[in-house]
Symmetry: C2
Subunit: 697 residues, 2 copies
């Protein structure tokens, strides 16, 4: 990857002869951005473009350049590419649009491009890309005249659109290395992340992702890197409309969004929902050290904004720290006996009475800073351009604190009153201090910082995500080759993995059914078992509330008659007789994601699943029981499992064990595409699977 | 109120002698802000402050000023106030802190201040306020040197903190008239709103509210004004921590936040959650005409941002309009056969191929603008400071459109690339165009605009909210004077209002119970009815699933025995025998809010209420059945009532009728403080109240 960011020589193919306004001339832009390596141009007609010698053909180049940048019409890309390969070029940026981002023909061309590259051990960024921007050495393949940050931050971007390079100030504020992988026909997130992992100019990695390939590998690499370098992702195409738009943009694979949430969580990747969160997160991660916890101390020159901050804390997942008593001692002022000190700390009355806002602010910040129960601080203060308010020099106070005692915890500032730009600039470079443009942005930033830290801590406790989990594959469990399995075969598989089923069995006769019921005890449930009756509840193939042998006899006969009438040619495996269990209905399941492999699903059952979609997901393997429990805790209905109104808790441990077993089953049986345990009944006495449906791939 | 904003003469009491930095000298600030009326100062020691003649006492003033501004320590406020009253002054701004915002003594002083004012027919703004800022005539009572907007917008603010006047550019961007009512001991939101209703310099009203008094009057006035002038409210203290902080700030009454949501909805007031929404809403309301619907057309120079916008549409309650075929015809370009046109419309490939981004952008915007299925437009375009990109003059294109064809629908712009400030300034004054600092801000703004319009439309269909609904009060329904009523009395009241109860009755004997059950049919439920058994379910005083006379006999005896054992001295009204109804459990209820009066509550029952808090609220009276139905539609569990999985819908009409009856009951029985119908069972066959509990005030 290094040659993409720091090539010694570059050839540009498909450059316009025009220069100046509206030309989008790659060569001109590259030179303006400050590239100091050797540049060649291939052009059939002219001898020179922008002062750079042009050659009629790649073959004619006097050396083999490190990198070729191709921006021809899509039909001319492959021939040019082949010529470059023949010349021995190994690195390519293919700017051209019209590949998988467009139509079937474009997809075909892209596949061919990738194949040619692989055969020649060459690497390709794109197509459909602006390529690479490296402000550290002044290298850029962009056809847009990008503003060069004279002091680029250690924040590197891997994106799928040039807009993040052109408009970086709106997305990440500052920009370090930035690569647009475009359609990602070859070089992908994993490749670049592995390069940035080792790159000393990178401390924070920001991804803009429309789709992901090599999902499990991505998570393996992310879960390794995110222990030392935070990774932030803006995954777009979250919404139905967004996903539709994404398919037409870079032709990315758009997965089920909830699975992506589970995936990023497992990979330790901080997901941001939008531009606002992205910018706030970047500012916080670039400027702040990781906080110990989510407890915020607030010092404000206006009580109203203290309340606004308290509201926002709840919105953004932060807490207000208890008010430090040491601060009370240093600030309590006998001249305003009625002034109550608490967190948020309103310093206005104190400043007015003592005559020094700076002193009160300094004491307050220092006091909050030294309290072990405060993890981060938000300071709210006016900065007015009027000379009459030069006394409100809270920015000076922060600079002073920074240079004398140091600022050991994140100090976010929201300044208002008209003089923000100038005053914030004075704080640039003060460690652990950052200015935000609103209370919300400040709290979004601190919240992202804390979420990032919790992700990092959870990575420390778990092994790297295994790209290909090392399990012994079990023999395919069934004679059925594909389709749906729901009968004895399915129950046997669950039993093999120790997943508890409701007591009972499949009866071939009434006598057998009576015998089973006698063992399990009444009431029982009867269900038709047949490959034709997979959706047995929709077909009426279930009888609940069978309380006695007499009722069983009737119900058994009714089901047999129903089966004959509805599916005269069907194969009847028997009638499943199950003890009718009491408890809370859950759903457990497995789904195989094309990118991330098997995903475990756990949710509240019945109408909870259907109407409220109260479901949590985890990628597999589940590292341990604790992760299963933590998944359950994420359900809105979790208090029901814990026992509401002083009720007794359900058998959460048994449930977690069943989830672990299911995880094992999913890994050892890759032929299973979907598996539904619905419902699973859980009560204080245990948990039991009541129905099971398996879909083979 | 006019004299507060446009006084002809002012006296300032409690002004420091100091001037310049850190003095917070009211007189100096007032003169700097440009006040041209007569100013007096009362000061015991000096002859002049800031060039203004000082008098030793109010009595000595040569005239009765229109307004007195008092900023003395709290203990000296009342004596000075009394002297002013004696002089004949009728308007006051009391700046001083330490009243209801502080402690009990402060509360007492504030009550006394309000009483004195009322007795003298004087009006007071404050205490604990910055007072009034009126940039139209250069009048300000603020002790801070506020930046004066040379061209103030028709946006007026009523706030409870000076920070909105000092830092307005962060909250509302521009500021017209602004009054800080502080603790609001006298002048409140209603007073100022009624003034702004008639004020030609006010088109949008923005409230910052910590608490509200005269709740029903507020809604009456709001529901009248909001038909012609949008009202935006930032109600703070939403969170538990925020409410706690609010109590210590201005001593406001903080109500239950969900009731406030219901109240604002009924008053047609647009609630914003935070600063981000507030600023976006203000910008949209100031610049845009109301849209016909929520359908957004998007034109973008970057496909990635089209996807981001699609995601954000879902987040912020907007829709993507279908792609207008007329635009397709005018833009389809044979030179890029693979380029698909849809909404969001990505113009980058078109601009590159045609060589004119401006032309493509203009065609696209004009096309979207003329399509009747597009209600508003978001334009996304780069604005780069480089001379090489002067061709990207989309801002020029918008100006051109504005001056030639006009822009009939809201056009929000998000511009990126570094030259935003300069280019946005060029668009100032173009009607129906506004620039936003991110896609999120643009969509927050358009969403607020659309919500405001839906509020306005709903106000048009309903009468003004009645501050005191004209109902004939029913005689108090019970002999019980206060406390909880749950027995026969309660059931009789429901019957009087036609609220259906589960069939059954209170039985005094087993024979009577058998007779009732015979009429209702089995299964039945038995419940102990006794003032001592209000929480009968916790005490085990309920028997479900009574399927036969034999079972009834047993259950009846058991309940009697239980009653004797548990409450030997209790009064037994009888045993309630009810048919056991099948259906979905709901909860209906009434709660009397101290500010807004009776509030109707409707929610999903059982664990839905307890764990998921799936509850909707409406202020009373409910105007009509449609409002009751619309309330139910707001429940997350509503699909269950509609019938999921092809099920039959519950009797929603009957349920809505019961809600209207309950509304009537609540208005006619002000002695009822709370009323719980829990559960109400609803099925396709009807709805029945199964349990009822009434709390008298």
């Amino acid at each position: 990857m290094r040659l993409f960011f720091e090539p010694g020589s570059v050839v540009l193919i498909g450059v316009t002869r025009r220069m100046g306004t509206g030309s989008y001339n790659n060569v001109q832009m590259m030179l303006r951005y400050g590239y100091s390596g050797r540049v060649f141009v291939v052009h059939p007609k002219v001898k020179e473009i922008a002062g750079v010698e042009a050659f009629p053909d790649v073959e004619a180049l006097p050396q083999v350049p490190d990198l070729a940048v191709i921006s021809l019409g899509r039909d001319r890309v492959l021939p040019a590419f082949t010529k470059c390969l023949r010349k021995g070029i190994k690195r390519f940026v293919v700017i051209s649009q019209g590949f998988a981002d467009a139509d079937e023909e474009g997809k075909r061309l892209q596949v061919e491009l990738a194949r040619l590259a692989e055969d020649a051990s060459a690497r390709v960024v794109g197509p459909n890309t602006m390529g690479v921007v490296n402000p550290f050495n002044g290298f850029s393949t962009a056809f847009v005249d990008i503003l060069k940050d004279p002091c680029p931050p250690p924040l590197s971007m891997i994106v799928q659109s040039g807009v993040f390079q052109v408009g970086y100030e709106c997305f990440t504020e500052g920009m370090g290395k930035a690569i647009d992988i475009g359609n990602g026909c070859d070089v992908d997130f994993v490749d670049v992340m592995e390069y940035l992992e080792q790159d000393p100019q990178t401390k924070v990695i920001v991804l803009h992702m429309e789709g992901v390939k090599r999902g499990r590998k991505f998570l393996q690499v992310a879960s390794r890197i995110a222990r030392s370098k935070p990774i932030v992702v803006l995954k777009t195409g979250r919404s139905v409309a967004g996903a539709r738009a994404a398919l037409s943009h870079t032709g990315s694979l758009v997965g089920e969004d909830a699975v992506l949430d589970a995936a990023f969580a497992r990979g330790g990747v901080l997901r941001v929902r939008n531009m606002l969160e992205m910018k706030a997160a970047c500012r916080a991660l670039l400027n702040f050290t990781p906080p110990v916890g989510p407890r915020l101390g607030v010092i404000t020159a206006t009580g109203a904004c203290g309340i606004i901050t308290a509201d926002a804390c709840e919105d953004y997942g932060l807490e207000l720290a208890p008010f430090p008593e040491t601060v009370r001692a240093s600030l309590e002022n006998p001249r305003i006996p009625w002034h109550r000190l608490h967190n948020p700390l309103d310093i206005w009355p104190l400043g007015m009475v003592t005559g020094s806002f700076v002193e009160v602010f300094t004491k307050g910040v220092a006091g909050l800073m030294s309290d072990p129960k405060v993890d981060a601080i938000l300071g709210i203060a006016p900065v007015l351009p009027s000379p009459l308010h030069a006394d409100l020099d809270m920015v000076g106070a922060v600079r002073e604190l920074g240079s004398t005692r140091g600022i050991p915890k994140p100090l976010a500032l929201w300044l208002y009153g008209g003089d923000q730009a100038r005053q914030c600039a004075l704080l640039a470079g003060v460690p652990n201090v950052a200015c935000f443009s609103s209370i919300d942005e400040a709290l979004l930033g601190l919240s992202a910082l804390w979420r990032c830290e919790t992700l990092r801590r959870s990575l420390e406790k778990t092994p790297d995500f295994p790209a290909s989990p090392s399990v012994r594959l079990a023999p395919r469990f069934t004679t059925v080759e594909s389709g749906v399995v729901a009968g004895n075969e399915a129950w046997r598989l669950l039993r093999d993995y120790g997943i508890p089923a409701a007591p009972g069995g499949v009866a071939g006769s009434l006598a057998h059914a009576l015998e089973i019921s006698k063992k399990t005890g009444y009431p029982v449930v009867l269900k038709i078992v047949s490959p034709q009756w997979v959706h047995k509840s929709d077909l009426g193939g279930i009888r609940l509330n069978v309380f006695s042998p007499v009722q069983l006899e009737t119900a058994f006969a009714e089901l047999l008659a129903l089966f004959q009438r509805a599916t005269p040619d069907g194969q009847l495996e028997g009638i499943l007789v199950q003890k009718q269990m009491q408890g809370t209905e859950l759903i457990l399941g497995i789904k195989r994601d094309p990118q991330f492999g098997p995903v475990l699903l756990a949710g509240m059952g019945g109408i909870y699943t259907e109407v409220l979609k109260d479901v949590a997901r985890s990628l597999l393997p589940l590292p341990a029981k604790e992760e299963a429990l933590s998944l359950l805790r994420g359900l809105r209905g979790y208090p029901i499992l814990e026992g509401i109104r002083g009720g007794v808790a359900a058998d959460l441990s048994g449930l977690a064990q069943a989830m672990l077993s299911l995880s094992q089953l999913a890994l050892e049986h890759p032929e299973i595409n979907e598996l539904d345990l619905n419902p699973v009944i859980v009560s204080p006495e245990g948990c039991w699977c009541v129905d099971c449906r398996i879909v083979l791939s």
